[in-house]
């Protein structure tokens, strides 16, 4: 049962990696990496139940924390200064 879910999560992680490699803009890559990190948390939690080792839940919690901080740091790094919005953009 858990094997099916972990296989689904693994397939999605491969798809996210393909999007991270192909992504036309840098935001696509950040999106794919963020998605990959969230799927890693899910996969660690499912593996904890698949192998009957509840210690993996602590790893999942720590990885969730690291993932959020990492994505926000990368966004802060690549973010450009806010541009002046044209009047035409407010419609």
């Amino acid at each position: 049962m858990y094997v099916v879910v972990s296989l689904a999560i693994l397939i999605t992680m491969v798809l996210a990696l393909v999007r991270a490699l192909r992504g036309p803009t840098v935001y696509d890559r950040v999106l794919a990496v963020n998605m990959f990190g969230t799927k890693t948390v899910l996969l660690l939690s499912v593996i904890a139940f698949l192998f009957g080792r509840p210690d993996f839940l602590d790893l999942a919690l720590a990885y969730a924390l690291i993932n959020l901080v990492g994505v926000l740091a990368v966004l802060e790094f690549i973010q450009t200064k806010p541009q002046k919005m044209d009047a035409a953009d407010h419609d």
Binding site: A8, I11, M13, A16, T38, L68, Q79, T80
Partner: protein, 107 residues
């Protein structure tokens, strides 16, 4: 009897979560522009998280593992929309506009 019902319910939740994960992954790969891909990816980060973690909490019963699972789920549900918002905000401020090419045709 109750155990069987709880097992079936949690298996259904896990299967649905796996299906949502696959759908979101396909959407993040195949949809045409950035904002639609963001929509598909954030679908997997909230709905699939709720479904999969609810199924595993049902399997865990009343234990420390269930508490940890609930904590991880709560944390993911708080942070994943925050990351999506920050990503969309950064993309919008960098000048990437959402396209609405077919808006007149669909009206």
């Amino acid at each position: 009897m109750i155990d069987t019902a709880v097992d079936i319910l949690s298996w259904m939740l896990l299967f649905l979560g796996g299906a949502f994960v696959i759908i979101g992954g396909l959407g993040a790969l195949r949809l045409p522009n950035f904002y639609t891909r963001l929509h598909a990816a954030s679908l997997t980060e909230t709905m699939a998280t709720i479904l999969i973690f609810a199924g595993m909490i049902l399997q865990a019963g009343l234990s420390l593992a269930a508490l940890k699972l609930a904590a991880i789920m709560l944390f993911l549900l708080l942070t994943a929309p925050t990351a999506s918002y920050a990503l969309a905000n950064a993309a919008l401020q960098s000048g990437m506009r959402p396209e609405a090419r077919n808006r007149d045709e669909t009206l």
